[in-house]
Symmetry: C2
Subunit: 480 residues, 2 copies
């Protein structure tokens, strides 16, 4: 007898054929109708029990959360809401679930808050919402690889433990093998890192970019997709201490090509889930509508989830220079009425989240790519424009999310790069290997970083980044 997952059974047309299915009880009505779910899809499989010929002991164990093995025959369903069902010929309770104990958990059949789900993160994948989010996350991940591999990009595993934090993208976590109660010091009283595992100070990577660049300058087009870390005390709904980042890097590519790729990439992966995950998206769309129905209209999402995804897929992102953006912001209502916390007074100001949101959500009402930022507010490796004051940087801003992508054309000129490093007190010796790539056949190249969880947030309509990653790491929280 063939085992089938529930997603397969629901698509199956072999009426009267006998199958084995496994899953967990979602509900049990009238001692007869078991809704079984195995996580292979959102939908449950209705399994019909011949309760008159089933022992009471077994019936008593068919409780919500219990794991079952069911042998039975596929038949057309008389009930509403499903095409097929299984007429049970043999049922085995593999793992019980004590109703008293279940009642204390998020497995109990009532609405639980997302906060409560986080506290029981080891069980939340069995809820409809989190199951849908995690299936979408998996499909999005695959779409990432699919996109780049089709385009001939090579996937590069850049190192997680690094000896340099030269990028300066943020605070880093230290990695050590020292006994923290007994840290060796030098005669000068400094920590003696020569005695640590790697013989030097090491930390968790904040970006694979610099290493990815070295690979692009040999393989032409590469991408990373791996975990990155920030030791920043940001307890917001948009920040994690550990998150996954996608970083393509392309040799012989300038900023326009970089922007094209970012836009094409985002559209491709969103289209992939629209095509491949209709049921999970429908469920999440309704979840969000339900969640927002008691909110004032201006706080609700402007479009239902699937409409929003299709809008992004079908429309061009608006490309706006930083200089244009500053003009728009300076003359905007919230700036004139002093509603911004940070008023935009002159060119050179760093844009805050409130400004990005205004541009994207109020002014343009679509994804926006800002480019050519002031050099003074961007990283050392970005290519200086001919004007000497802006760099070839770009950020892709999304409604409800803010910065989805940050990228740039890289400074490929050895001397300019050394000057910029010195100006920022970065020791060129620390990055000798990075600089060397500019000595042997340097070329224009570009790349960007995309925070994967922000993409999942946007794609699922969830609002807290903790709800789109299996086990979130945030300040004061590394549970599970």
């Amino acid at each position: 007898m063939i085992r089938k997952k529930i997603a397969e059974v629901l698509e199956c047309s072999d009426i009267l054929k006998e199958f084995i299915v496994y899953g967990w009880v979602k509900s049990f009505r009238n001692n007869q109708f078991i809704a079984l779910n195995d996580g292979s899809c959102l939908q449950n499989l209705q399994c019909v029990l011949d309760f008159e010929h089933t022992s009471e002991a077994i019936i008593n164990d068919i409780n919500i959360g219990a794991a079952l093995e069911i042998k039975g025959v596929l038949q057309e369903s008389q009930g509403r809401g499903q095409r097929v069902e299984i007429q049970i010929s043999e049922l085995t309770v593999l793992g019980k679930a004590d109703p008293e104990e279940v009642r204390k958990t998020i497995l109990s059949p009532k609405k639980h808050s997302l906060e409560k789900l986080r506290e029981q993160a080891h069980l939340r994948v069995r809820t409809n919402t989190f199951g849908a989010v995690m299936r979408l996350r998996s499909k999005l991940s695959f779409a990432v690889h699919d996109f780049f591999q089709q385009k001939g990009f090579n996937y590069v595993h850049t190192p997680i433990i690094t000896g340099s934090d030269a990028e300066g993208a943020g605070e880093t976590f230290k990695v050590t093998n020292f006994d923290l109660k007994n840290i060796p010091t030098t005669e000068q009283g400094e920590v003696d890192f020569s005695q640590d595992f790697f013989g030097k100070e090491t930390n968790l990577t904040v970006s694979g970019q610099l290493e990815a660049e070295t690979f692009a300058l040999g393989l032409s087009d590469v991408y990373t997709f791996g975990p990155t870390f920030r030791a920043e005390n940001s307890n917001t709904s948009r920040h994690l201490a550990e998150f996954w980042m996608i970083e393509p890097e392309m040799a012989f590519c300038e900023l326009d090509g970089n922007m094209d790729l970012a836009e094409e990439f985002i559209k491709y992966v969103l289209n992939y889930i629209v095509k491949n995950c209709p049921k999970d998206l429908e469920f999440l769309e309704n979840r969000l509508l339900d969640e927002e129905k008691n909110k004032p209209k201006e706080q609700r999402s402007p479009m239902p989830l699937r409409e929003k995804l299709n809008f992004v897929i079908e429309n061009n992102f608006k490309r706006v220079s930083y200089t244009e953006a500053i003009d728009i912001l300076k003359n905007s209502k919230p700036n004139k009425k002093k509603k911004f916390n940070y008023l935009i007074e002159e060119w050179g100001a760093d844009l805050q989240s409130e400004h990005e949101r205004y541009l994207v959500e109020k002014h343009f009402k679509c994804p926006v790519i800002l480019f050519d930022y002031p050099a003074s507010i961007k990283a050392f490796y970005m290519r200086l424009n001919e004007d000497g004051k802006t760099v070839r940087a770009m950020d892709v801003l999304f409604p409800g999310i803010g910065e989805m992508v940050g990228g740039s054309q890289r400074e490929e000129r050895y001397e300019v790069l050394v000057e910029k490093m010195k100006a920022l007190a970065i020791d060129p010796k620390e990055l000798w290997w990075y600089l060397e790539t500019r000595k042997f056949g340097t070329c224009k190249h570009s790349g960007f970083g995309l925070g994967f969880e922000r993409l999942v947030l946007f794609a699922t309509g969830m609002t807290n980044i903790r709800d789109v990653i299996p086990y979130p790491r945030t300040p004061q929280n590394a549970e599970f």
Copy 2:
């Protein structure tokens, strides 16, 4: 004018069409023939220069390692070894490469040792060998996702920073945000982890298995593919402090299904590269033949690389119980003649690398799956057999590699699991969430871990694990 990557040009039939190509100079003969490579494939593109109409200044800059932009017309090649070539109409040197400087690097056109390549890891992707290895690594990575997604598995990003090292798979790296020169302590003189970033002691994961299990017990079939860490002072050609691991986990699956999956998986991904990377494999096969030609016959690989891969793809792995394996080893020549460093005297002995190699390379001469190991030498989470002394563990052993896969059916019975934890002094409170999955609809489930770099080693015929990962992390080495 369309830009094409070299891999595309070499497949292109649009004779007389004009293209732009980019790449780095591999060689320049007779002031006329440029071998250009962009890393999109192993092969170079021959670009023919009209040197009589090219300035001397430009010709002088066409040195090995220089980056070029070439516009030209595709034509059939008169020369040997290539179907097509580019007749150059316009050539721009984007980035020079000083021959004096190049001579000091691995870019210089002579044979360099793999050790030397490691010292210049930022440049080694531009060598034929390392370029081929990295393209294969990328393709293998994609094959991993392709295999599991086709089978309906969900990709899970298990956490990298964890608060528990309960698995006991090895020494862990500590992750901290403390100033190492000033570590806060409690009144009792202990490190006060409540003041650290996560409010508790944290380290880098040694395995995502326990978290993956929680996801399998909701989504049925899941897999991880992410970095894992061991702080072990193993300076061997088979160990890294940071490596990538693949860990599938399947609910409602017993050990036989687990072994089936491991075998099917390995065959699938190897077949994927045999089909998709013929040129890189051919190159690496010849590299290995060349490397081994001066070795005594018994130290050479028994088969050329591609024959070896096809042998694994086409033949069944041999499945042998631990008990049978002990019998074979006890009666083996090296045991009787006391050639093993660790003689096999009785049932219960832990198998060393020398024993695994004997079984795989001498006795069975094919990949071997050993199963049903003594409980005493395996981890707490493995399912106890009815005999009370063996567990449902399995290791897949490969010729030349040793352990490629380690897996097991998991102990799904709450009480048995608690007993095993107590026996190993693992505090059940530490793993309360793991234990809870056995309370709410527990079921038989299984999974395994596969060290990705060992797979890449096998697939490429390389012999040092440092040569199959971009930037290896080993004791005393976190350079780049």
